[in-house]
């Protein structure tokens, strides 16, 4: 009997788990269930495991059990106080060699993207980045089901399904919010296994001198839940003030299309599109953007898109879930008004969900 | 390379278009060290537009051109005129076979994006040095005012050469800087050409134009009811998988009647005879282009000490008339040859470069005379032209057939109307075909 291990990397910083970790546990559980029948027939065991690195992060290991891990390997050591590439990848290389997982998923966050390429290279295995669909599927010539990892290519115009036939683990990275958050089980069954840490501070070959926390005009639209974006149709830089009000009401941030950046109306950190950021928020409200491909490829994967434009034939309406043909300077104030009314009705302070827990 | 060191060439060509690369080719072949400066990332750029390329002009510069696999679209195997009537009718006067069946063909359709690139490559093969992504902004002059180099938009961007050939295209800022062309654009002397390139499957184009395959192509001048009854002339021609359609109208007319070029073009495209040909075509590019009206007879002076102007920049190219590409290539060639002569003499003065314009005028006048020689023979055998169509002769020949020579007003509709009023249409058609054969050598 062999054990087929399905792994998810549990990402944390400063003792806070990144929610993508739970999303990964949800996916990996589903993948594990897809081979269960085949494994039982062969007398094999299938387990879902999380790997967690950090310092004083036992509470996160416990949380990982709640989100569906059968087992969590915990590597707790001061060397992991802050994420650094070398201590992390060397340790993951070591534990993966020891336990030989079949599938290994890592969140495609800045941290995860930094890490995944290094781990895959160290393990000399294949890695498919930014997958949007994952399945365990039958492939001709393979006795066991393989991970079929589908990702968009060429700005989302083609979907490519990639597989890794020989090398193990089969690795994929997954962007936050591509997959749903699984149910949390407050009384989990699983176990936490503390693994010995062999990497030392000397192996790190890097030192973090300081963290500069953003203040004032800082925006990270890439991972925002709500984006209110404007384009040339705003007419003036001042139009972004109105968008900011709506973004504030929704707990979101302001985005912009390229012409606004080129015109100097707003900083390029706000740019959504092929030459700016690719975003996939839950809600994308876009006003005064005609919908050039360059912009659309950066936002068309948002969960819900509301487009506002005076031109009923604007291409932006092709990707919108709801299109409002009208003047944004009338529509947005009406939105603000109705949101305020809702908040009042609900009696809450209008707070929004903390994303990075 | 030290920045203090001057960059020197024997000759500089500004603009790697039809004229520029021809000039560079001729000079490089004669052993000159030639810089061919191009503003775009590469010659031809993203231009979808094209035109007819006459092989005789190519041949004069590059005798073995067919072996070098030019990226032609279709050969012109059918050429002539379409008359549109206001009631939706279409009368075609087309020639096929005969000289149009020659191999290689006398004329090919080509797209500038691919043809200009190939044409510049031929210049590079002769040894010309192509400098892309660089815009010439001004000239370096000697104390006596002679041009001795150019200034580009790049840091440390001066290049020196005793002779500079300007082939900058229709935005002739440099030609203006040389003081050769006036800044003033008078609407009365300008025509506006506007055109579209529409993409369609090859088989669709073949079927709609009655062509057996992509080795056959149509080039037609379109007259009659194409421009809201206003003076104008259109064209339509087939590429492999695109159709180019466009027309030219006097700028004065557009202003007078407050017409938008796009609307005029739309009306032309919606004419019952044209619409089915272009139906479903995907618009690849739309553009307008001013055509100086004067024609070669009124061309400005084409040279000054150390510099010559060729091609579009010198109003030689006429976006409507297919012969514009010829003129550009031939002018580039003659300018290049003149630069070679200047090098042989070690003299780049205005007097030496005057040879360029002399040769050019001589060449065009000779060609014109040849046409008129045919024409007088034709008149002997078709006396009805003398009897029946005097106004037609005056207007149509004067305005239209002489390479867009000097039309005061191209009232084609009126011409057409007056013509049909005097002689039954079917006979007129036959006469015009005969005349076309005589004058244009179909």
């Amino acid at each position: 009997m062999t054990t087929r291990r399905f792994w998810a990397f549990i990402e944390q910083e400063e003792g806070h788990a990144h929610p993508v970790s739970w999303e990964l546990l949800g996916v990996i559980r589903r993948l594990a269930s897809q081979v269960r029948e085949e494994a039982e027939a062969a007398g094999d065991e299938v387990v879902v495991e999380g790997v967690l690195l950090g310092h004083n992060v036992g509470h996160i290991a416990q949380e990982a059990l709640c989100y569906g891990a059968d087992r969590v390997y915990l590597l707790d050591d001061p060397v992991f106080t802050h994420y650094r590439n070398r201590p992390y990848y060397k340790t993951l290389e070591e534990v993966a060699q020891k336990h030989e997982p079949e599938v290994f998923l890592i969140g495609a966050t800045t941290l995860g993207r930094d890490l995944a390429g290094a781990v895959a290279t160290a393990l000399r295995t294949g890695l498919t980045a930014d997958c949007t669909q994952l399945e365990m599927g039958e492939v001709k010539g393979s006795p066991q089901k393989l991970l079929l990892a589908t990702r968009p290519a060429f700005g989302g115009n083609i979907m490519a399904t990639i597989l890794c036939r020989q090398n193990r683990p089969q690795m994929s990275s997954v962007r936050p919010r591509v997959f749903p958050m699984p149910e949390r089980n407050p009384h989990p069954q699983g176990e936490i296994v503390r693994e010995a840490v062999s990497v030392t501070e000397e192996d790190a070959l890097s030192r973090i001198l300081e963290f500069v926390r953003p203040e004032g005009e800082s925006v990270n639209i890439e991972y925002a839940d709500v984006i209110v974006a404007g384009g040339r149709g705003l007419g003036t830089a001042e139009g972004f003030g109105l968008l900011q009000q709506l973004a504030d009401a929704l707990g979101g941030v302001v985005g912009a299309s390229r012409p606004c950046i080129d015109a100097g109306w707003i900083g390029n950190a706000h740019q959504v599109g092929q030459s700016g950021q690719t975003v996939r928020p839950k809600l994308y409200i876009v006003a005064g953007v005609s919908g050039a491909l360059q912009h659309k490829v950066g936002m068309q994967n948002s969960d819900f898109i509301v487009a506002i434009n005076t031109d009923p034939d604007a291409p932006i309406f092709d990707v919108a879930d709801v299109g409002i043909v009208g003047d944004l300077y009338e529509v947005i104030p009406a939105m603000l008004e109705q949101l305020a009314a809702r908040r009042k009705a609900r009696g809450s302070g209008g707070g929004h969900q903390e994303v990075s827990a | 390379m030290s920045t203090n060191e001057k960059i020197r060439f024997d000759a500089i060509v500004v603009g790697a278009g039809l004229a520029g690369s021809a000039a560079a080719m001729v000079m490089a072949r004669a052993g000159l060290n030639v810089a061919l400066i191009e503003r775009g990332r590469k010659p031809g750029g993203k231009n979808y537009f094209g035109g007819a390329i006459y092989t005789h002009a190519i041949q004069e510069v590059l005798p073995d051109f067919m072996e070098r696999r030019p990226p032609f679209e279709r050969p012109v195997t059918e050429a002539g005129f379409w008359f549109l009537s206001s009631d939706g009718g279409l009368t075609k006067m087309m020639t096929s076979g005969g000289k149009l069946a020659n191999e290689p063909a006398d004329a090919y359709m080509a797209l500038r994006a691919t043809f200009d690139l190939w044409w510049a490559e031929q210049a590079q093969k002769e040894g010309a040095f192509l400098i892309p992504k660089t815009t010439v902004t001004d000239f370096i002059r000697a104390e006596d005012g002679r041009v001795i180099g150019v200034i580009t938009d790049r840091p440390d961007g001066e290049l020196y050469a005793p002779v500079v050939i300007i082939c900058e295209g229709v935005n002739n800022l440099l030609t203006q800087k040389l003081g050769l062309i006036s800044h003033d654009l008078v609407p009365a002397h300008q025509a506006l050409a506007f055109k579209q390139v529409l993409s369609l499957p090859m088989e669709t184009i073949n079927a709609r134009f009655g062509l057996p395959d992509a080795q056959h192509g149509v080039a037609a001048s379109v007259l009659g009811d194409i421009s809201l009854g206003l003076p104008g002339m259109g064209f339509i021609y087939t590429n492999k998988t695109t159709i180019s359609v466009g027309l030219g109208v006097m700028l004065e007319t557009l202003i007078e009647y407050r017409l938008k070029p796009y609307e005029v073009l739309q009306r032309y495209l919606q004419h019952p005879a044209i619409a089915p040909l272009v139906e479903g075509g995907q618009l690849l590019e739309y553009g307008g282009h001013l055509i100086p009206e004067g024609g070669w007879r009124e061309m400005p002076k084409l040279y000054t000490g150390g510099a010559m102007v060729a091609g579009d920049a010198a109003s030689m190219v006429n976006a409507l008339h297919w012969e514009g590409t010829n003129m550009a290539i031939i002018a580039g060639k003659v300018a290049g040859e003149t630069a070679v002569v200047a090098h042989q003499r070690g003299d780049f003065s205005e007097q030496t470069l005057a040879r360029y314009e002399e040769q050019l005028r001589e060449g065009f006048i000779l060609r014109d005379m040849k046409q008129y020689r045919n024409f007088s023979k034709f008149l002997d055998t078709h006396p009805q032209f003398m009897d029946v169509y005097p106004s037609f002769l005056n207007d149509a020949l004067g305005n239209f057939f002489s390479a867009y020579g000097k039309p005061k007003r191209q009232l084609f509709k009126e011409i057409y109307g007056s013509l049909t009023g005097r002689r039954p249409l079917f006979k007129a058609v036959g006469d015009i075909i005969s005349m076309g054969r005589a004058v244009l050598g179909w």
């Binding site: 650094r84 590439n85 990848y89 800045t110 941290l111 993207r113 890490l115 390429g117 290094a118 290279t121 295995t125 980045a129 060429f154 700005g155 115009n157 083609i158 979907m159 399904t161 890794c164 090398n167 030192r207 973090i208 300081e210 963290f211 500069v212 839940d225 709500v226 929704l250 030459s275 839950k282 809600l283 509301v306 309406f317 709801v322 299109g323 409002i324 043909v325 009208g326 003047d327 009338e330 529509v331 009406a334 939105m335 008004e337 109705q338 809702r342 809450s348 707070g351 929004h352 969900q353 | 060191e5 960059i7 990332r41 994006a113 400098i131 660089t134 790049r154 840091p155 440390d156 961007g157």
Partner: protein, 279 residues
């Protein structure tokens, strides 16, 4: 003397891509090839430091012979030497096989002429994987910083570099020993407009061509398709997004249009989620 190595890739200019309206497929014809923009900014930074410290910049690229254009562009920007690693056997390489060839090449250059900093763009715009830079660092045993927005300090005597790296949460200031590998964001440096003499030099420049037959010996099993653990199983076009409903505010009134919009967002469970309501 400073020696920087910059790895560059030639990519189709995806800002210029067109989609065939009938098939929904990418129209590749006529799409210009450019230097991957992130690589171009990384190169600009390398050249800035070269001009400040004195030294040289070497560029390396793996790809077909037409990548010469991109190497020349690097020379135009001020690079001194260009190596194009090109062989038919390299075709079909995934990120693992690519990192093998690049790491071997960079290592060989390093041994003959020690490198202080290896620069990569943070990712290539055609693949967006961001895997090759970290892969090369692992293979060469170099410390790495990704997503670098600024080099604060580059001290050749004390053999250290201090770089700023931007994450979702903050900017990290990291110190690494030299040699080190950096993958860079666009903010790291502006791309300068090259002087004419540099452009002319680049147009005359022929890069060194390294192939399977030399000067390096590459392991056949680690290059191209053979060295790539991943394969493309299938390709497909994503279903074209179905255009949602259009509400004309000029007909139904602005307030009603917003009301209907919010109702749809509610039905999709969106508004509740973002407003933190029904959890």
């Amino acid at each position: 003397m400073f020696h920087a190595l910059v790895a560059v890739k030639q990519v189709p200019d995806t800002t210029n891509i067109r989609i065939d309206p009938e098939t929904g497929n990418l129209v590749r014809e006529g799409v210009p090839a450019i230097m991957n923009p992130y690589d171009a900014h990384a190169l600009a930074e390398a050249i800035r430091w070269k001009r400040q410290l004195g030294g040289k910049v070497t560029v390396v690229s793996m790809g077909p012979p037409n990548f010469v254009v991109t190497i020349r562009e690097a020379i135009e920007m001020g690079a001194d030497r260009g190596v194009l690693v090109s062989d038919r056997k390299f075709a079909g390489a995934d990120t693992l096989a690519t990192s093998y060839v690049l790491a071997e090449t960079i290592q060989a250059i390093h041994e003959e002429d020690p490198i202080d900093v290896v620069f990569f763009g943070k990712q290539a715009i055609d693949g967006d994987t961001a895997q090759v830079g970290p892969g090369v660092a692992v293979r060469m045993g170099l410390p790495i910083v990704t997503y670098v927005v600024k080099i604060r300090e580059l001290d050749l005597e004390r053999r250290r570099i201090v770089a700023e790296r931007k994450t979702e949460r903050w900017t990290e200031v990291i110190e690494l020993p030299l040699p080190a590998l950096l993958t860079c964001e666009k903010e790291i440096a502006e791309i300068p407009f090259a002087p004419l003499p540099d452009l002319i030099r680049s147009l005359r420049y022929d890069p060194e061509m390294w192939t399977m037959s030399g000067p390096l010996e590459f392991d056949k099993g680690q290059v191209g398709v053979r060295g790539s653990p991943t394969i493309v199983f299938k390709m497909g076009t994503p279903p074209l997004p179905e255009a949602g409903e259009k509400i004309d505010a000029r007909e139904v009134g602005v307030a009603e249009a917003v009301k209907q919009t919010f109702a749809k967002a509610d039905a999709a469970g969106i508004l509740d989620t973002v407003l933190g309501g029904a959890r």
